[in-house]
């Protein structure tokens, strides 16, 4: 069994901070990469060693630059690399390069990443193992006329998806035959741009499903368990905004059935490390395998909250070759956890990104509240990275308590200098359908009347503040005019008095 004593984080922001926390607990020396784009960030301060990324002039972003990251790892003789999420985390070539250079990649094998990363191959594997799937092309579609033909067969609506896609990019829903040509063009060009691969496949579109995903943990000895589900139906344009564990839709029986299917597909690719199997669940509790994410997920903390398992720790221990010490029956889902993603986005203006500097930040701290963040006072939100600045994760014995504690924590979460999605999170948590657990992926479009929640008397207080500012300004104007124009004629005693009262 190897023992990882040092690791390089090929990532930034809150996930780098998260990995550092567990690595420190395990006594592992952490190396972080400093880029010119954010040379003063929090993760750099927390790391044991900071490596400067070599100056470069080509267009490959730092955390996607396979060869330079490998060079940095070798120069600093690190035992392992943790890729976090995004960037190189699901790049089979990167995992393979690590292996070739005798650096431990903290994640699954290159082969598993490749098979699950290619949606077409992933579906073929699922078919072979009798895992429920949606009807579709089961392969890449070459032209829009071919897409039309398949769509006729399985019936509209259908969805076009990038074969190498993820995170909602390169996805288009086609409602009618007449839209196919336009949508096919949009989907392929978006796929080409985002993933360097224009290939798309087609699939039956389920209206208003829930997005349910299962957390998987596998070791290199072939043991695979699941740690229950996460409900991720609160999405906008296929981007998750709020997650919870468990899901109010699942009974213990359904959890067992779906969990077993998730374990089955993981075993089919000899999966080890942490991974996530995504399903769609329709209104009649039929579920369909969507894809497997071969990395740690943004929303992993909700699972940690309800199971008590440190997923990053297990990624590292599994990379060491350790056997998972839990059997399936040892995993107990206890209580409820909700994660609110706090993004620097303007909810009043179509969630457009808010760039700028965090002038002040005040983070709620209390029992049952966990905040994962990579920013602090003075941090800059740049266009180079995603807009997520923090995750608020709240635990409650019941869902109702978790909702209530989340609302309290959100009202104490203050950020000056930027707009955030906090008013959106409040709107969801206050929504009646949400409170009753009646949610699906159309929730934001259908059930949310207003995308942001206004606190009581908020507008009145804002109006009063505008008047206050106005009056303040009028007074300043008047006084400066007085002193400038009439100052000379003033009695010195009066002048002195006036200066004192300024």
């Amino acid at each position: 069994m190897t023992q990882i004593k040092s690791l390089l984080i090929a990532n930034r922001g809150e996930i780098a901070v998260r990995i550092i926390a567990t690595a420190k607990k395990m006594g592992i020396k952490v190396f972080a990469i400093k880029t010119l784009k954010e040379p003063n960030e929090m993760y750099l301060q927390l790391a044991d060693e900071v490596i400067e990324f070599p100056a470069q002039n080509d267009e490959v972003p730092e955390f996607l630059d396979v060869e330079n990251i490998i060079i940095l790892a070798k120069e600093n003789k690190v035992d392992a690399i943790h890729p976090g999420y995004g960037f190189l985390s699901e790049n089979p070539y990167f995992a393979k390069r690590c292996e070739e250079e005798k650096i431990i990649f903290i994640g699954p094998s290159a082969d598993a990443i490749y098979k699950m990363g290619n949606k077409t191959i992933a579906k073929q594997i699922a078919t072979k193992h009798n895992i429920p799937l949606l009807k579709g092309s089961y392969g890449n579609v070459k032209s829009y006329s071919e897409a039309e033909e398949i769509a006729e067969n399985i019936g509209y609506p259908v969805i076009l998806k990038a074969a190498s896609g993820g995170g909602g990019r390169g996805m288009r829903i086609v409602e009618h035959k007449s839209d196919m040509q336009k949508m096919f063009r949009l989907a392929t060009s978006e796929a080409e741009k985002a993933f360097n691969d224009a290939s798309v496949f087609i699939e039956k579109y389920v209206r208003n499903p829930r997005h349910i995903e299962f957390q998987i943990l596998g070791d290199k000895l072939g043991n695979v368990i699941h740690l229950g589900e996460r409900e991720c139906s609160i999405q906008r344009k296929h981007q998750k905004l709020m997650e919870e564990a468990p899901s109010s839709a699942l009974t213990p029986q359904l959890r067992e059935i779906m969990g077993n299917e998730a374990v089955k597909i993981a075993k089919a690719v000899n999966y080890y490390s942490a991974g996530t199997v995504e399903f769609l669940l329709d209104a009649n509790n039929n579920f369909f395998f969507m894809e497997m994410n071969t990395r740690i997920q943004v929303e992993h903390p909700v699972t940690e909250m309800v199971t008590g398992v440190d997923l990053i720790e297990w990624q590292i221990r599994i990379a060491n070759g350790e056997r998972i010490s839990y059997a399936q029956k040892d995993i107990k889902i206890c209580g409820w956890a909700i994660e609110c993603r706090i993004n620097a986005e303007d909810v009043q203006s179509n969630f457009s990104p808010c760039l700028g500097t965090i002038q002040k930040i005040s983070i709620p701290r209390s029992k049952n509240v966990r905040v994962d963040t990579g920013v602090r006072e003075g941090s800059e939100i740049t266009p180079y990275f995603d807009s997520m600045i923090a995750k608020l994760i709240v635990y409650g014995e019941t869902r109702q308590k978790a909702i209530q504690t989340s609302l309290t924590a959100l009202s104490k979460f203050k950020i000056k200098g930027l707009k955030t999605t906090i008013p959106f999170c409040k709107a969801v948590l206050h929504n009646k359908a949400f409170k009753q657990g009646r949610i699906n992926t159309s929730f934001i479009q259908k059930d949310l009347d207003l995308l942001y929640y206004q606190e009581e008397n908020e507008e009145l207080l804002a109006a009063a503040f505008a008047v206050f500012s106005h009056v303040n300004e009028l007074r300043n104007d008047q006084e400066s005019q007085l002193d400038y124009e009439k100052g000379k004629a003033l009695n010195p005693w009066l002048l002195n008095k006036r200066i004192k009262s300024l």
Binding site: G168, R169, L186, S189, E190, K193, A194, K237, D346, V347, Q348, S349, N350, S352, P353, L355, Q359, K360, S362, E377, P383, D386, S387, S411, K414, I415, K416, G417, K419, T420, T421, I422, P423, Y452, Q454, E455, E456, N457, E458, E459, L460, L461, A462, A463, A464, F465, A466, V467, F468, S469, H470, V471, N472, E473, L474, R475, Q478
Partner: protein, 182 residues
């Protein structure tokens, strides 16, 4: 030490200030000699605090919210409170009367501009100058945060002018296209 500033700064008693929000709400405040404001026949005692934690708070009857003045442009105030933006123009009864009068006299603009809703890159321009468009017709494809967004026309009319080209970058609120109302 916290620095308290009383909201009562009005020079003379019974001054009226009307805050008009961009969404149409109207708040009519009247200052009272004891330092409070009268609003809808009720007395309110607002308190503004520049606290030690670096935030500015406005407080009313125990409700206390962090508040920021984002921008001031003449009598237009952009206020950020709980991460929500409110835009008010602050008027006096006299300036409001004048404003209403001017509004009545001004003719309705025939040309509507389509501004960029977010910063991004123009991937495709789908219309030409002079083309007739219906409400909801796609005008261009804007890529922002690695997502492709179709920008549609919100009115029926004719494309008057196109200010952008395929491949160009735009900032938020840059006018991309002008449409003349039919």
């Amino acid at each position: 030490m916290e620095k308290h500033t009383n909201a009562n700064l009005v020079t003379s008693e019974n001054d009226r200030f009307i805050a008009l929000s961009s969404k149409g709400s109207k708040f009519d405040f009247q200052s009272k000699p004891n330092g409070s404001f009268k609003y809808k026949n009720q007395l309110f005692d607002f308190k503004v605090t520049h606290a030690e934690d670096g935030f500015t708070y406005i407080e009313l009857n125990g409700q206390k919210y962090a508040v920021e003045l984002v921008s001031v442009n003449q009598n237009k105030y952009e206020v950020l409170i709980n991460s929500i933006t409110y835009v008010f123009t602050v008027e006096t009864p006299f300036s409001l009367k004048r404003k209403d009068l001017l509004k009545k006299q001004a003719p309705q603009s025939k040309v509507e501009s389509i501004p960029a809703p977010m910063p991004g890159k123009i991937l495709d321009v789908l219309v030409e100058e002079g083309a007739a468009v219906n409400e909801g017709d796609a005008l261009l494809v804007l890529e922002a945060m690695k997502m492709q967004n179709e920008i549609t026309s919100h009115i029926k009319g004719k494309v008057k002018k196109i200010f952008i080209k395929k491949g160009e970058n735009v900032m938020k609120d840059d006018v991309m296209i002008e449409i003349e109302r039919n």
